[in-house]
């Protein structure tokens, strides 16, 4: 098991673990804010996974500093980084909307327990 394989397993493993922890929080925790925390943990896990995909052991950052214009071979894959950049900002946007909805829900129901917010059913 050389280090590259170890790093890969470590990063992928943690990101899957993060996704599971996030899902656990979303599915069992009763407070709405805890659910949103769970969602942002899932997002974090996925972004780590995405960057892990692009990582090449011993690769360099995809920036062409003045010295090394030709260091293309050992560069890390820039595409996942561009995707993660967009995904983080989208995740933030959705979290902001979610938290504003929580404030409105609290103003209307005076509780943040998801079991009590069940007016719309069947």
């Amino acid at each position: 098991m050389d280090t590259a394989e170890l790093i890969r397993l470590g990063v992928y493993g943690t990101s899957i673990l993060l996704i599971l922890i996030g899902l656990y929080a979303v599915l069992t925790k009763k407070s709405l804010i805890k659910i949103i925390i769970g969602l942002s943990i899932i997002d974090g896990g996925i972004h780590l996974l995405l960057i892990g995909i692009g990582y090449v052991k011993g690769g360099t950052a995809p920036i062409f500093s003045p010295g090394s214009e030709d260091a293309v071979a050992r560069m890390v894959d820039p595409v996942p980084q561009a995707l993660v950049l967009t995904a983080i900002v989208i995740g933030f946007g959705v979290t902001a909307v979610a938290l504003s909805l929580i404030i409105r829900l609290y103003r209307h129901h005076n509780t943040l327990n998801i079991d009590e917010i069940k007016n719309l059913k069947w």
Binding site: L20, F64, V79, T86, A96, S100, I103, R104
Partner: protein, 231 residues
């Protein structure tokens, strides 16, 4: 009892995720040289921007960023519409903790530094890591600091939305200019200059600066709305 079921389901889900991502052949038969080689090679030769990620974000996949900016614009407007309060009873600012003197004086010192750092980050987007989004957010944190530490510090909502709209419009206008001069939407029609030079990369730094302004104005507006929301 419910927790046990959930844990069982998550275990099964984790198992399947593991066999997909952690298995050796996931790594073995990966197609390593997909589109990225073209991007790496083209950013140096054609676009002459040092930071490949910025080149991808602004030029190769510029449409994503346009969508991205709309998502932020939508989030800010959605926040405004969800927490909308009639003019006269805007709650006074939620004060987290009364700002002590250290925070007060410190804020006045750090604030210009943060703004300068933010500006630097999004001006040099195409050379050093960072860019429009990162710079804009840093500036927003700067304003956040001032909003928290000084009760009377306030920014007029109109200026923010003007900057935000102007930046957005210019972004799309540059896209259309790309269509007129360069042949397709968001094309890099300006001269790309020399690699690692401040004015290199054609329209990329210009667009990224506009994105920086837009994100800065938007997030500040967002923070301003959510801060003024009395529970």
């Amino acid at each position: 009892m419910k927790k046990a079921i959930v844990i069982f389901f998550l275990a099964v889900f984790g198992y399947f995720m593991a066999i997909t991502f952690l298995s050796p052949e996931f790594e073995a038969d990966r197609n390593r040289n997909g589109v990225k080689d073209f991007y790496l090679e083209k950013t140096v030769s054609d676009l002459k921007t040092a930071n490949t990620v910025t080149a991808i974000v602004v030029n190769f996949r510029g449409f994503d960023t346009l969508g991205e900016v709309t998502v932020l614009f939508l989030a800010a407007t959605a926040l405004g519409s969800i927490l909308f309060k009639k003019r006269h009873h805007i709650g006074e600012r939620t004060v987290l903790y009364p700002a002590s003197t250290i925070v007060g004086s410190g804020a006045k010192l750090i604030f210009p530094a943060i703004i300068l750092l933010g500006a630097y980050v999004f001006i040099h987007g195409h050379l050093t890591p960072g860019g429009g989004f990162q710079g804009g957010t840093i500036i927003a944190t700067g304003f956040l600091l001032m909003l928290i530490s000084y009760r009377n510090f306030s920014i007029s909502h109109n200026i923010l939305s003007v900057i935000e709209s102007l930046a957005g419009i210019l972004f799309v206008v540059f896209g259309f200019m790309g269509l007129i001069y360069g042949g397709s939407f968001l094309e890099n029609f300006m001269g790309t200059g020399i690699l690692n030079d401040l004015f290199s990369g054609g329209v990329i730094p210009v667009i990224y600066i506009l994105v920086g302004f837009k994100v800065a104005a938007e997030l500040t507006g967002l923070i301003y709305t959510i801060l003024h929301e009395k529970g």
